[in-house]
Symmetry: D2
Subunit: 208 residues, 4 copies
């Protein structure tokens, strides 16, 4: 088993600039707090991705002004990636899609035994919306994250949405709904456990 | 413009046998009522598909005991297909998937100008769940229905789900939420209008 | 029936800047050519969206430097929207997602009878990738476009992808595969027909 | 680390009865062979689910004639679930959806520390089609399997589809395409590794 302390990087893929309150931030904060209770420390503040210049493209460096190379480095330095996104039209935000797109490059960034740079990292997902769409957002994120090398612990997603066609924001709720709190705790417990196991025992590579 | 009266067939893809109450039935009934207000008459009772033997396969007749050929005939005799499904795990029911799968055969059932048997029919979708999943179910149903030749009017889906991770059933609600009622009415108005237009002016076929 | 000539605006949601060759452009061009054969004229050049500054947000004008208001105007002035996107990780591009997100505002832009600004417009989709993902991209685009008020004619999507896990680009093909050419023609024929019908007979609004 | 031998159960969700050749079987067989090379033994023959009577419902026993309880037992007795499905209309088969639906019951089948009966099991996915749809099928299966408690190793899906709109079957190929063989091997290597880790160190439960 791993004994080194684990770290998590959290990305907030809200469409809003960093000075605006974000429901996604609230859910990310709750999960980060649960992770802290399992000895996982946050690798810096939650990253408000819309405040960075993540250029379109599918390489790891799209040139001048591209903020991806530095963010990519931070993602690969952490043991756990916590990816948070709002829901628009039942789907993940364009900012979240941009992040996934840039990780497409991991598919070609392998060691001499075929292991991507992301192998051994655990990913988890936080999804927030006024209404409907969380399961689908989880589906798209799980598939994309898994394709680019992340491992998904049991219950790798947590979410909140209101009743159909309503407009309440998660950050307006007076208290965290009990099933959401339970899911947040389970997600954190499982992600921390699995990240520890994988840190202590890397995926084997392809025979040379 | 078409003057012949329009007809609609409604399918309930609940997992439950026909003697059990179904929230999907409630929403289908509301939309059928709206359609009636636009002169669209129901082609018989709502079909509880789980009560039929729709055999697995992708041809229009899978042999002895297959209830699909008769249901297929009724679908093609109507002007509008109203497809209702519950949500399980954020996705359409297996019963609904079976219906779509059987319509895969339409892709090869074309006239001498390349028009599928379903061309000119309008489809609309009713989705009900305890929680989250409606947008994705609409996405899968829209794509599959469109692939097999149906036309989708503006706002071709209506739905209800409760707050995340909750367990209220639509049929337990004391009254229809206003935005759902508004959407039901809009869906019916648009579907009836478009079905009338297409009945009066068929899609042109490929030049011979 | 409408007698005014129909127009189409085509958006290319490639991740690449406008001076780079794009497979999405090739497929869009083929469909535009088919549409021209049905009397539908292009409303200007194909728009390379990555070359514009479409700001994140869900209003129709996100302020200084936002290129969306002008593009939005052009979309609403045309009768048909032809939306083209490449596939990355089996999903639509972040550039395409941004466009859909901005159209979320249409949900609130209704006349006094509840009709969105987009009602009566027909949308169609062109999807290109090295490999797998086209059906899902169509599903997401159909659902989002329909949610924001567009109508989908039978066979509203055309696509090309190569064999699984391969890397051929559509623009490298020596000739258009026959089933793709057939689908392109059918999509154009149906979209033109339906746009004409809807131009001649608007969706009715809600009674006042 | 676990020293007990690992086992895998493979489900083929083809629409075809068990005496018909299946491309899904070919891919499942290739992955099972890779797993065997890592000491994972098959828990019996590949299960042709269409040959069983898996009744509609979301409980673990839908009564007389239901073949699910026995299949459920076998799934929970194995360390790895290998779920294989064909693609129809770009989506998983109705037979596959039925299996996922029945596992919905796992959500309520927890021990006194909130762990589902499936916690600690690893799932992987094999997808085969004539054309397009594999990424989406992986997305839906990953999300549903993860929701009901399965863990997903890096690269938890392998697939084959032909070029867009073509009709070649995987079982007709003269040899396995190299990237598919590489993916099969990677999937098996990672799944075996992770299943071993989790067998040796269970997910911790919620404090009592």
């Amino acid at each position: 088993m791993a004994t080194a302390p684990l770290t998590v990087i959290a990305l907030n893929c809200s469409l809003k600039a960093s000075d605006k309150p974000s429901s996604t931030d609230v859910l990310l904060g709750q999960v980060l707090s649960e992770l802290a209770g399992h000895g996982v420390s946050a690798a810096g503040e939650v990253v408000r991705v819309a405040g960075l210049n993540i250029k379109p493209g599918v390489t790891s460096d799209e040139g001048e002004g591209d903020d991806w190379p530095a963010l990519r480095r931070r993602i690969l330095d952490a043991d756990i990636l916590l990816l948070g996104t709002p829901i628009w039209l039942g789907q993940p935000s364009s900012v979240c899609k941009r992040v996934l797109e840039r990780m497409d490059a991991f598919l070609g960034e392998t060691d001499d035994q075929g292991r991507m740079v992301s192998f051994g990292k655990v990913a988890a997902v936080c999804v927030v919306g006024n209404e409907d769409g969380a399961h689908h957002v989880c589906a798209e994120l799980f598939q994309a994250l898994n394709d680019v090398g992340f491992t998904l612990a049991a219950t790798a997603g947590t979410y909140w949405v209101g009743e159909a066609m309503q407009s309440t924001d998660y950050r307006e709720l007076k208290e965290t709904p009990k099933p959401v709190a339970t899911t947040n705790a389970m997600l954190a417990r499982n992600a921390a456990h699995l990240a520890g196991l994988l840190k202590g025992a890397r995926y084997p590579g392809a025979p040379g």
